[in-house]
C-alpha cells in the first residue's frame, strides 16, 4: 500500500490500464503537455507518448464524438471533460449517442469508453464550474455512473471502468483531488456496482456519494458522540449499476434512510433511492425518509455562501439529530 492523493490515483489508474492495453488512448483539453488543469494526468504523455495521450481543441462534442467513434471501432478511449458542467455542451453525444447506440442497434455496436470529469463544488468557482451533475448522468439509460470518494476507489474503479465493455461516466470530486489515502500497489481493479458499508449503526442508514461520504462519516462520529445516534454510512460508489441489495439491507436493519446529496434537490440520485426504499422497504421503515441536498439553486460563489449551500457536517448533524431518535 502506498499513500496517494486522489489526483495521483487518477493518473495511476490510467497508467495501469494504458500499460496493459494498447487500445487505451486518452484525450482531452490541456491533458497531455500540461497534465490537466487539476494535474490529475501528469506524466502520462511522457510515459505513453503523443499518439496515445492527446491534447484537443475546445471542442467537447468532437472529443466525445471521437471517443465514441474510436470505441465503436476497437479502441478504448478515455476522454476528459474538464469540468462536469461542460457536459452540457456535449450532452447529445453522451445522452443520445454513446448511451443509446448499443440498444438501438440491437447489440451490434459497443462503446467501451470512459468519460472522466471533475465534479462538484467547494472551490468558489461559481455556478458554471461547481455543479454536481451525477444525477444528470443517472437519468440516462445506457451509461454507467461512478463517483469514488477515496483514492483507492479512484484507482480501482477507474481501472474497472476502462475494462468495462459499456460506457462509463466517471465523476472525480474536484475538492477531493488533494485528499490522501492508501492505495493498493500493483495491478488493482475493483468492481462496478458495489456499494460499500463504511460504518454500521443501528438508528439510521446514511447513504452518500463522493465528497458527501466524508461529511457523512464525520457527521456520524459526532452524532454518535454527542447525540447518541448510531448511524450506518453507505458509500454508493456507483449510481449505475446501483447496489440496491446493500442499500435495502442496511436500511432494513436501521429502519431509517437519510441520503446526503451534493446535487441540487430536484430529481437528485437520492430521490431515486428514496423511491426504491419507499416501495421495497416500506414495511421496515420506522420513520420518514430524509434527503439532505444542496438546495435547488445555482451554486453561489463567495466562500461564505457556498459553504452554506452544499451539505456540511454541521447541517447533517443538525438534521439527523433533530429528526431521528
Amino acid at each position: 500500500m502506498a499513500e496517494l492523493t486522489y489526483r495521483e490515483a487518477v493518473a495511476a489508474g490510467i497508467a495501469q490500464e494504458m500499460a496493459r492495453d494498447d487500445r487505451v488512448v486518452f484525450l482531452g483539453e490541456d491533458v497531455a503537455h500540461a497534465g490537466g488543469v487539476f494535474k490529475a494526468t501528469v506524466g502520462l504523455l511522457d510515459q505513453f507518448g503523443p499518439l496515445r495521450v492527446r491534447d484537443c481543441p475546445i471542442s467537447e462534442q468532437a472529443i466525445l464524438g471521437a471517443a465514441m467513434g474510436a470505441a465503436m471501432t476497437g479502441l478504448r478511449p478515455i476522454a476528459e471533460i474538464m469540468f462536469s458542467d461542460f457536459l452540457a455542451v456535449c450532452w447529445d453525444i453522451v445522452a443520445n449517442e454513446i448511451a443509446k447506440s448499443r440498444y438501438m442497434t440491437n447489440g451490434q455496436v459497443s462503446v467501451p469508453l470512459v468519460i472522466r470529469t471533475a465534479n462538484g463544488g467547494g472551490s468558489r468557482f461559481g455556478a458554471q464550474h461547481s455543479q454536481s451533475v451525477e444525477n444528470w448522468a443517472m437519468a440516462i439509460p445506457g451509461i454507467k455512473v461512478v463517483a469514488p470518494a477515496f483514492p483507492a476507489d479512484v484507482k480501482g474503479l477507474l481501472a474497472a471502468s476502462i475494462r468495462d465493455e459499456d460506457p462509463v461516466l466517471f465523476f472525480e470530486q474536484k475538492s477531493l483531488y488533494s485528499f490522501k489515502g492508501e492505495v493498493p500497489d500493483g495491478e488493482y481493479v475493483d468492481e462496478l456496482g458495489k456499494a460499500r458499508v463504511l460504518r454500521q449503526g443501528k438508528d439510521c442508514t446514511i447513504v452518500a456519494l463522493a465528497l458527501m461520504v466524508h461529511r457523512a462519516l464525520e457527521a456520524a462520529e459526532i452524532l454518535e458522540r454527542e447525540h447518541g445516534i448510531s448511524c450506518t454510512v453507505v458509500d454508493v460508489r456507483s449510481l449505475v449499476p446501483l447496489d440496491t441489495v446493500t442499500i435495502l439491507a442496511e436500511v432494513a436493519r436501521t429502519g431509517r434512510l437519510v441520503t446526503i446529496e451534493e446535487n441540487p434537490r430536484l430529481c437528485g440520485w437520492g430521490a431515486e433511492i428514496a423511491s426504491i426504499i419507499a416501495d421495497e422497504c416500506f414495511w421496515e421503515l420506522d420513520g420518514p425518509i430524509i434527503r439532505i441536498t444542496t438546495p435547488h439553486i445555482p451554486l453561489p460563489s463567495a466562500d461564505r455562501l457556498e459553504d452554506n449551500t452544499i451539505p456540511s457536517v454541521a447541517r447533517i448533524v443538525q438534521e439527523i439529530s433533530q429528526r431521528i431518535d
Binding site: 462534442q61 467513434g69 471501432t73 465493455e165 449499476p241
Partner: protein
C-alpha cells in the same frame, strides 16, 4: 434550377471500367427500387413511424458504395437507407426494420432512422443532426492509430453544415489528419426550408472548406461516375495519410423530407427540372451511349426488381419482434439491469 449547375459529361470509359459502371448502375437501381418499395409499403400502412427517402440522391451513396473497401466505414443520417444498402446490408433487413419486424437489421429496436450493419461497415444512421460527424472522425482516428488504412465516410445534408458539431468535427479531423471523408449531400433543403434562406454562403459545405484549410470541392451528385471518381481520389489520399476531405455533392430529393411531407414549399417546376437529371436516367443513357447493350441493363433491372420483391415478401413474412428484446442489449452483458 436552384443551386449550382452541375458539370456535364461522361468520364472517358478508360477511367472507369465497364464492370464498375454496371455495378454503379445496379447499385443505384437497388437503392431506388428498394426505397420505392418502402414508399408503397407505407402507403399500405405496413411501415409505421417515419421514413426519409433519398429518391433522386442515389448516385452519391452508390458512387461511394462501389468505391469503398469492404472494411471502410459508413456513417450516415436518418436518411440512410441508401447508404446502408450501398454497403451490402440486406434488403430484407432494411425493409424489415422499417416495418418493425423481427428480421429487421436492428430487430425492430432502432427503426428507419438508425439502420446499421456493423458486419458490412455500415456503422450507424444518426438522427440528431451533426452528431455523427465527430463520431466518424473517431472511427478514422482508430484506423489511423492502428495503421489499417481504413477510411470513414460520413454523409450528411446541407442543413447539417450550420450546426456546431460540423465545425468541431472538421477542425478536429484536419488537425489530426484523420482518414475521414465528409460528404455533404446538398439537396437544397433542410426539412422544408431552403438552405439558402438560412446560410451565410452559397455552398454551405464547400464555401467553408477553407475555414479548415481544406480544398473547395463541389461535384455533381447526380452523376455516379463523378461521385465514384471523387470518392476514389480522396479516399486514396486519406489512406495514404493525406487527411480528410470535405465534398459537396449537388443533388435533389424527389420526394418530401419524410413520409409526412408533400413538399409543397418547392417552387413550381423545380422537381421537374431535377427529374430530367434523375441520376439513374442519365446513367442509363450514358451506358447506352458508351456502348452497353440494352439487354444487359434490362437484365439488371429485372434482377433487382426480383430481389426487391423477394425481400419484401421475406420482410412481410417476418413476425413482430419478441417482447423479450425490450430488455436486451442496453448493456454489453445483453441485459438491461441497472441494479442488482
Amino acid at each position: 434550377m436552384t443551386g449550382t449547375t452541375p458539370k456535364k459529361g461522361a468520364a472517358p470509359i478508360s477511367e472507369i471500367g465497364s464492370e464498375t459502371r454496371l455495378a454503379l448502375f445496379r447499385m443505384q437501381l437497388e437503392l431506388r427500387l428498394c426505397e420505392k418499395r418502402a414508399y408503397d409499403l407505407f402507403l399500405q400502412n405496413l411501415i409505421k413511424g417515419t421514413s426519409h427517402l433519398s429518391l433522386g440522391q442515389e448516385a452519391i451513396a452508390a458512387g461511394f458504395g462501389v468505391a469503398m473497401r469492404p472494411d471502410d466505414w459508413t456513417f450516415c443520417t436518418y436518411r440512410g437507407h441508401a447508404h446502408t444498402l450501398a454497403r451490402g446490408a440486406s434488403m430484407t433487413g432494411v425493409l424489415g426494420e422499417l416495418m418493425g419486424r423481427e428480421c429487421g437489421l436492428l430487430g425492430g429496436k432502432g427503426g428507419s432512422m438508425h439502420l446499421t450493419d456493423v458486419s458490412k461497415g455500415a456503422m450507424g444512421s444518426y438522427a440528431i443532426i451533426g452528431a455523427h460527424l465527430p463520431i466518424a472522425a473517431g472511427a478514422a482516428w482508430s484506423a489511423q492509430y492502428r495503421g489499417t488504412e481504413q477510411v470513414a465516410v460520413c454523409f450528411f445534408g446541407d442543413g447539417t453544415t450550420n450546426i456546431g458539431a460540423f465545425h468541431e468535427a472538421l477542425n478536429f479531423s484536419v488537425i489530426w489528419k484523420l482518414p475521414v471523408i465528409f460528404v455533404c449531400e446538398n439537396n437544397l433543403y433542410m426539412e422544408y426550408t431552403p438552405i439558402s434562406a438560412v446560410t451565410a454562403v452559397e455552398h454551405p459545405a464547400a464555401d467553408r472548406a477553407a475555414a479548415y484549410n481544406l480544398e473547395r470541392v463541389v461535384i455533381d451528385g447526380n452523376d455516379a461516375d463523378e461521385v465514384y471518381r471523387t470518392a476514389t481520389k480522396f479516399m486514396n489520399r486519406a489512406r495514404q495519410g493525406g487527411g480528410p476531405a470535405l465534398i459537396e455533392a449537388m443533388t435533389y430529393r424527389h420526394s418530401g423530407h419524410s413520409r409526412a411531407d408533400p413538399a409543397q414549399y418547392r417552387p413550381k417546376g423545380e422537381l421537374e427540372q431535377w427529374l430530367e437529371r434523375d441520376p439513374i436516367k442519365i446513367y442509363r443513357e450514358r451506358l447506352l451511349e458508351l456502348g452497353m447493350v440494352e439487354a444487359t441493363l434490362r437484365d439488371i433491372e429485372e434482377e433487382v426488381t426480383a430481389q426487391v420483391n423477394e425481400a419484401t415478401e421475406a420482410a412481410k413474412a417476418s413476425a413482430a419482434p419478441d417482447l423479450a428484446g425490450i430488455h436486451q442489449h442496453v448493456w454489453a452483458d445483453g441485459g438491461a439491469a441497472w441494479r442488482n
